[in-house]
Amino acid sequence: ARAETVLTFADSFPDGHYLAEEGMKYWMQRAEELSDGAISWTYFPAGQIAKAGGILTAVRDGRVDAGYVGIGYFSDKLPLNSVSMLPGMAPTAGAGSPGYWAMLKADGPLRQEFLDSNAVPMMGVMLDPYQMVMATPPLTTPEDFVGKKVRSGGGAMNLTLESLGATPVAMPAPDMYVAMERGTVDGTLFAINSVKPYRVDELTESVSTNGPFGTFVITIAINKETFEGLAPAEQEALRQAGEETVTHLANYVDANVGKRLEEFRAQGITVYDFPPDVVTVLEEALTEAEADWVRRMSDRGLPAAEVLADFKRRMQP
């Protein structure tokens, strides 16, 4: 059928990035198919419309109809949604994403944060947890962490790093390659799947696999008026496409982690598990990180404890 509705979509992923291919484009394409071609897209990739931290506002204002919303960029507008980024919530994308997405769909504080920004969430996926991607040999004892400088996204990740005596370092992503090359940092907390896109594998000597360091969480949101102005069948197509994307992307992410780790081994990178004594320290730290999060969110008058309890109940083991 001929496209009756042409919508604009913005993200900030570079060309061919798996989150664009298997997340953003997948959702757009499924929506197109499920609506029998009634919906089609004008796609602005790679931050053409706004930086990652500006897409939610662009959706809110209707400067773009729909777009990628990375939870980590919006601690001001989507504070409670950051519960999904806390360390130790889910070991895989498959274990966490269905629960988070269910919570985001239901009437509740997480969905309301999007609606307050005039945006309707269409899908939400928790990626694979961050791991220690280091230009050093594996960190196999708690002492190995002491004095290591590690790039981190801040917040709860800093607490877990500091619990073992490592030093969290903040820097913009484009500086990371050079910083790791020159030894400004010893490594970075990074999702396994993001290592290749930033070419950090060229500099990496070891990668952990079982560290509970928190997760990056990605969603798609659509402008509320745009969504409500669509025909019921079109709305349903977008909704259904969202459901399918959550499953598809979470499966892809988990399968791809395995594939990437294989490639790393073939490249001569050491892929390893933290031993129990390290995990114990990390788990103590993440309890502390949770408490810190609840305290700071509650200070703002937000129902943090309830959200955290609800969220943890929905996580699969």
Binding site: K149, G154, T184
Partner: protein, 194 residues
Amino acid sequence: MHHPEEDVVYPAPVFRLLDAGLLRLEHAAAAVGVLGLAAIMLLVSADALGRYFFNAPVQFQYELTSHYIMGMTSLVALSWGVRRGAHIRIGFIDQVVGERLRGILFGINFLIAAVTMAVICVYAAGEAWHAWVNADLFFGVVDWPVWLARIWVPLGCGLLCLRLVLDGVMVLIDPQHARVLGTSTDPDTEVDAV
């Protein structure tokens, strides 16, 4: 130090008064901008050197700089810059038209630009107000108030808008002042440095 641009004497007393008032604000803004530059230099250096030599980076530096200091330093003194002739334009038209028309064009350009700045100021002020009312916070090393990050766009662009209106109207009234205000591309003006 002597700044030729600040010698401009505005024709009507009311303009002189308005200029003097605006200039006070602009000097305060420039002081804030200079403080911002110094703060960036010191904080970023302390972060890097502390990280390298003592394994003790200044944890809050990255967030403090990117949330507040950069925006403040980039915007607060825009108006002061224009008052100091810190704008680049293509001077082609000056050779084609007479002094009177040149002044009129100069004034119209400034007034059009003032509208653009006013639009930015109004919408950015709305965002800052919104962040203030909702008491929005960035969740970082500490909780950072959002309005304090958002306030610099309306402040900087608002002040700039006032300056553009004042100079634009003044030049329309007395076109020969365009020559003085437009000195920034005069090759014979000595550069301040050295």
